[in-house]
Symmetry: C2
Subunit: 261 residues, 2 copies
């Protein structure tokens, strides 16, 4: 008999986020689910981790029949502590993160706690998926995307994920009948163009609060943003090697000392 | 007359870190320096940014004759607020981050506040450099590396940085006479293999504190870790496109709906 897969679930919106509850409900049909999520919202925490302070980990009754924990750290901390303290080195078969309330397409990926958590698991050679819906509302409607999550997870558990360990999946904010399907994409060159709103606090102190608008600088039809804008669910295979290989030759004149290997 | 370059300096060890002071002292010979650094240590903050809370920004007298600010946010917040609030959209000619107390080579790059701050500037098409010394001590000796920082900065200001916008520079912890020179490298597959130390706080509560050891899984002689272990200063050109292009074809069978373009 095939062993039941161990599935680690986390997110960055915190243990109480509706998107997490939907994901847990879907995933419990696929194996033994363990939830380790931040005890408070941790959006835009990127790959932050906690080294100069201790972490707290509490077992909680959040999802019926599901082993669940809240952790005082970042999404990446949650994955690390799940591995070491909860699974005690036993490797999960899959890590899913989300469903995030808000897009993690394009350059959002580098700020995303959701995808960073999944990336942390992928560094441990665990197949990992970040799921996000392009709707920041806490009342976002995740229903149309359940069958697609099932499809993707079934595929990954049965056949793996090709030459990658991490998928960044984003759902467009559209009704079921308008979804055209899945599309493998590259990360678009699109990002938040920001400014700070200046204000005065009740004590007269000046504060600055980040604001902005999302701008697509990328005309490609092979990007995640194009896919989402055209009714597709975008899937970007993600890796963690940030080396800009194409630039290596162009930098050789920066090397002062010639090296004999 | 050539216009004096505007140089933005930040770090993740905070406004009081000795490494920042060394970098400011070096950089003031190259142009108009503006310092915006976190008001407290922000190591391992990765690309975290602050969206659900306001930021504070205070002008401080920290370096003689240098316009300096401390910011309550992350390193990435510092770069964003420098751009919008201090430079008011005027583009810096160079952003340097560091000198970090501790290595940002190999996979450390994805957790690094130092490199993430420089990456944030690179997203604005500003040439950016993260400098780190492989010595976590606050008493680390940065002296041997001053001439190399001068060389790199001179080169970048005069000739640019080839096809990239971001360099991750790491210095080995060795005496001057043992430094063999600079080396253009790829990011090694090397990382912290971690565990949590469990303890009891004074009130009897259980805490978990991250610990671990750095392990190199990469036998290549073209990596930053090899360079550092063999007496070189490592320079990795870094980019922010996390797409795993090589995996895209291998995922096509995941696409349920065939798409006619």
């Amino acid at each position: 008999m095939k062993k039941e897969p161990v599935i680690l679930i986390t997110n960055d919106d915190g243990i109480m986020a509706p998107g997490l509850a939907v994901l847990v409900e879907i995933m419990k049909d696929f194996g033994k689910v363990i939830v380790v999520a931040p005890d408070s919202p941790q959006s835009a925490q990127g790959h932050a981790l906690t080294i100069s302070a201790p972490l707290r980990l509490n077992k909680v009754e959040r999802f019926e029949g599901i082993e669940s924990y809240e952790c005082s750290g970042t999404p990446v901390d949650c994955v690390k502590i799940a591995k070491s303290v909860i699974l005690k080195g036993r490797k999960a078969d899959l890590c899913v993160s989300g469903i995030n309330h808000g897009s993690n397409a394009a350059l959002n990926v580098i700020y995303s706690g959701t995808v960073s958590a999944a990336m942390e698991a992928s560094l441990e050679e665990i197949n990992s998926i970040g799921f996000s819906l392009c709707d920041f509302s806490m009342q976002a409607d995740f229903e149309p995307f359940r069958p697609y999550i099932r499809e993707i997870v079934t595929h990954v558990l049965d056949k793996g994920m090709g030459n990658t360990r991490l998928l960044n999946v984003n759902f467009p904010r559209i009704p079921s009948e308008d979804i055209k399907g899945l599309r493998i994409c590259r990360q678009a060159n699109a990002k938040w163009v920001e400014e700070f709103v200046e204000g005065k606090d009740p004590h007269g102190g000046t504060y600055y609060w980040l604001s902005g608008e999302f701008v697509n600088f990328d005309k490609g039809t092979d990007t995640d943003i194009w896919a989402l804008d055209n009714g597709y669910i975008s899937i970007v295979p993600v890796h963690h090697d940030l080396t800009n290989y194409q630039a290596m030759d162009s930098l050789q004149d920066l090397v002062i000392t010639e090296v004999e290997l």
